[in-house]
């Protein structure tokens, strides 16, 4: 076993991780640990764009952007955080351009902007062009540009190092960050990393669901690790289902398609969004569009042999525009469904997409251990974190923005903190828990298989904890997940080797997924209202009296030693916008 010592450790090399690394590595000795080669991170899959009120093509300002974000998030957004994000958005985009990102350009040579769901002019008057984009591969360009700049700055990467544990120590009775434990995939070796600051930027956990736009590797490791340490997770019931996934596959077709003028139609060809959001129609926020689509299908207006999807119509757009502004998704539809968007309607249905919730942090990206106190030296940014700028529903493009704004903040804060303190000692037997976890799985002789349990979990979550939920479906999901956790205790893997043991890794990841599925369902059960991405059919209205607050979930043990999910609540930060009814 090896021990490495750094000032700052960044876990994850997606957009958030690398943006942090660029700031931190110039200020302090930094290492980036990532379970994937940096360019494999799922930020690269993001398509549509990144919003900032540059006002390059029409009048705009960051205050309108803030309002849209707050309203889009169904007023569960912490408004101080949203203000920071929308104000810093402009520099975030310009910084990327200076780093070399090839944005699409206006005829004047400025960064071009297009419409996106929920982004409006003057507090909801009409859709505004705010999303800065590079065709439909904005995330790809961000990921490549950040990686290229990391090469330029000589950032130190530990590629294919799976972080499996967070090391905390006590200082005057309070937890402080001390390091992480990582498993080197190539060799099966355990490494200890001691650091003054640790930044988690490990992305989301979409693989809890079956139909998802998320990568196989988005298994919520960071949230899972933090959770197992007894630290809280915030707002886990708010998970976003993106309206336009390729039907049956979940592969995403960007909202930018509707930003360019695409229209959703039901089986009879009706533009049904006119009924649900008369003002901005197809460009309503995602939660509303996803619900409308499910509603259409439920009421028998779905298309296809099983009437289980609707159509995205791009056929009225000039072929030129589709080919140049949306080349990738055009190809996805052709490759995976054999449908040509230029001449045919594309079957689409909501797909699990984005975690609004996650590891709670303040606007300095410091991780909270309860409603008020932070864990010194521990930071989180990106999809893993919950600042919360997205509240109950994230607006499209605000995540690429989030990773850049808060990734940058995390890098600066972590480095500055590291420069002001000494290393904390590692706790006793730091690698013990990790070795036990690995050995238990490697030497397990049970009869259960990882793939089977994972499939059952995804099936029940798709069935019972998707766009619409009720007390009954959520209870069903909870029972199923708990049963699966019992089965998981009896799991065994076939690969007993040390090198590139992906069998083992998948088992570990499944463990995290099961934990997160449970937290999600428990949090959802207790939120007896409908708000943003959380739609309870048994409580169809928003209830600001009882639920205008964030959920904080903790892993706890009761007197009999049984583990359970304990829920607590945290107030929402409101600065200038009072909650109103959400109409578009």
């Amino acid at each position: 076993m090896q021990t490495h010592t750094f000032d700052v450790i960044i876990v994850g090399a997606g957009g958030a991780g690398m943006r942090a690394a660029l700031e931190s590595s110039t200020r302090a000795r930094t290492a980036v640990l990532t379970k994937l080669y940096p360019t494999r991170s799922h930020t690269g899959a993001a398509q549509g764009g990144m919003c900032a009120a540059l006002a390059n093509v029409e009048e705009d300002n960051w205050e309108w952007h803030t309002f849209d974000t707050v309203k889009g998030g169904d007023y569960l957004v912490d408004q101080d955080a949203a203000e920071i994000m929308c104000r810093e958005a402009i520099d975030a985009v310009l910084d990327l351009e200076k780093m070399g990102l090839p944005f699409n350009r206006t005829p004047e040579g400025r960064i071009d902007q297009r419409r996106f769901g929920g982004h409006t002019r003057n507090h909801g008057e009409a859709a505004v062009r705010r999303s800065c984009y590079a065709a439909d591969r904005t995330g790809h360009m961000i990921l490549q540009t950040l990686y290229q700049n990391c090469i330029k700055e000589g950032v130190e990467f530990f590629n294919e190092f799976y972080v499996l544990d967070l090391l905390l120590n006590e200082e005057s009775g309070e937890p402080v960050a001390a390091g992480v434990v990582a498993y080197e995939l190539a060799t099966g070796e355990i490494h200890l990393f001691q650091a003054k600051s640790i930044v988690f930027a490990t992305g989301g956990y979409g693989k809890v669901w079956k139909t998802t736009s998320n990568a196989h590797t988005l298994t919520g490791d960071g949230m899972g690790i933090v959770w197992r340490k007894g630290l809280p997770l915030e707002d886990m019931e708010f998970y976003q289902f993106h309206p336009t996934g390729l039907a049956g596959l979940g592969v995403l077709l960007t909202e930018g398609a509707r930003g360019e003028g695409g229209i959703l139609r039901n089986a009879s060809g009706e533009r049904f969004m006119e009924r649900y959001a008369p003002t901005i129609k197809d460009l309503a926020p995602r939660d509303m569009v996803a619900r409308a689509m499910v509603q259409e299908v439920r009421e028998g207006r779905g298309a296809g042999p099983n009437k289980d999807y609707v159509y995205l119509d791009l056929t009225h757009l000039p072929a030129e525009q589709v080919e140049t502004k949306l080349p990738d998704i055009t190809e996805f539809a052709r490759t995976y469904l054999g449908v040509d968007p230029i001449t045919e309607l594309v079957p689409v249905f909501p797909t699990a997409h984005y975690a609004m919730g996650g590891v709670p942090t303040n606007v300095e990206t410091e991780v909270l251990r309860d409603n008020e106190h932070v864990v010194p030296g521990l930071y989180a940014a990106g999809e893993v974190a919950c600042v919360s700028v997205h509240g109950a529903n994230r607006l499209g493009t605000n995540s690429l923005l989030d990773i850049n704004v808060f990734g940058r903040r995390a890098g600066i804060a972590a480095a500055e903190y590291a420069n002001s303190v000494e290393h904390v000692d590692l706790p006793g037997d730091p690698q013990g828990a990790t070795i036990a976890l690995v050995e238990r799985l490697r030497s397990g002789t049970g009869s259960e298989r990882v793939a089977a349990i994972r499939k059952d979990m995804q099936d029940t979550m798709d069935m019972n904890a998707q766009v619409y939920r009720t007390e009954a479906t959520l209870k069903q999901a909870l029972g199923d997940v708990q049963e699966l956790k019992r089965r998981f205790a009896n799991v065994s893997i076939q690969d007993k080797g040390t090198r590139y043991n992906t069998d083992l890794i998948e088992a570990i990841e499944l463990g995290f997924l099961l934990d997160l599925a449970e937290v999600t369902v428990v949090s959802a059960l207790e939120r007896k209202e409908s708000r943003g991405g959380h739609a309870r059919e048994d409580y169809p209205n928003r209830d600001d009296v009882n639920f205008m607050r964030h959920t904080m979930a903790y892993k706890s043990t009761d007197i009999s030693g049984e583990e359970y999910v304990r829920l607590d609540y945290k107030p929402v930060v409101t600065t200038r916008y009072e909650p109103m009814e959400r109409k578009y």
Partner: protein, 252 residues
């Protein structure tokens, strides 16, 4: 990409049925195997399933030791380049319906990089070559306060090569790279092209030094394997040719 758009894949008319498909996979487990060997696996698949789905199924249901990298599952992260029926492809972008399933489908690791385990190869030499061509913007002059201006035409000039996902399908399909691992390979040339032809960049002289090297752009023998292999449809050979001409005429 899908060469033929078949009517049958639109589930309007026909509900597809699963058929048994055999995969002949080149296996190598460093912990137990002396040498690589072939192994056959049969799984039931739909015509619209990807080869990646098949590998997932084999790993999940038949043999957990089968190892390969994958992430996004739809051709955007570059993890799963491998040799399918003799050609470099992304497993997640190759559909069963586009393969001849009467014979076993062969799956092997990409060629020219050291095989670590099954489909997993050591990518470090590949990324080392990439890093050598200075794959980042080297801007000129002072930083402007706003964005640098660039016309839409100037932006279009290098669009093709910005699509690269560093999957290594091209480099490991190149006959020159197989025999001479020192050659930078097409992917590095693509990266160089992306910056040389960016109107905002001024690092031509610095990159020239690398590209003009013995193992640089002149090693390319225009065999077009890279262009055929590229899952992003990048005109790789064309990009290399443009770099060559830029070097000869010393202008972009």
């Amino acid at each position: 990409m899908a060469a033929v758009v078949e009517e049958t894949v639109v589930p309007e008319t026909e509900v597809p049925v699963a058929t048994d498909v055999t995969f002949r996979i080149r296996r190598f487990l460093p912990d137990v195997d002396e040498d690589a060997h072939w192994e056959d696996y049969t799984v039931a698949l739909f015509p619209t399933d990807r080869v990646l789905t098949a590998l997932e199924k084999i790993k999940g249901e038949l043999d957990g030791t089968l190892s390969f990298r994958r992430s996004c599952g739809h051709g955007i992260c570059g993890s799963d380049a491998m040799r399918i029926n003799g050609r470099n492809r992304l497993a997640c972008k190759t559909l069963v319906k586009d393969l001849d399933i009467k014979k076993p489908i062969t799956v092997e690791p990409i060629k020219g990089l050291p095989v670590e385990k099954d489909m997993i190869v050591d990518m470090e030499p590949f990324f080392a070559a990439y890093r050598q061509v200075l794959p980042f913007l080297i801007p000129e002059g002072h930083e402007p306060t706003r964005e640098r201006l660039q016309s839409a035409e100037d932006r279009a000039r290098f669009d093709d090569t910005t699509k690269c996902i560093l999957c290594a399908a091209c480099t490991t399909s190149c006959p020159v790279y197989w025999t001479d691992g020192q050659y930078f390979g097409p992917a590095a040339m693509v990266a160089a092209h992306r910056f040389i032809f960016d109107s905002r960049d001024s690092g031509f002289e610095q990159r020239l030094e690398v590209l003009n090297d013995k193992e640089g752009v002149w090693r390319c023998r225009t065999t077009f394997n890279c262009t055929d292999a590229c899952p992003r449809g990048i005109q790789v050979t064309k990009a290399i040719q443009e770099v060559k001409r830029a070097l000869i005429f010393r202008r972009v």
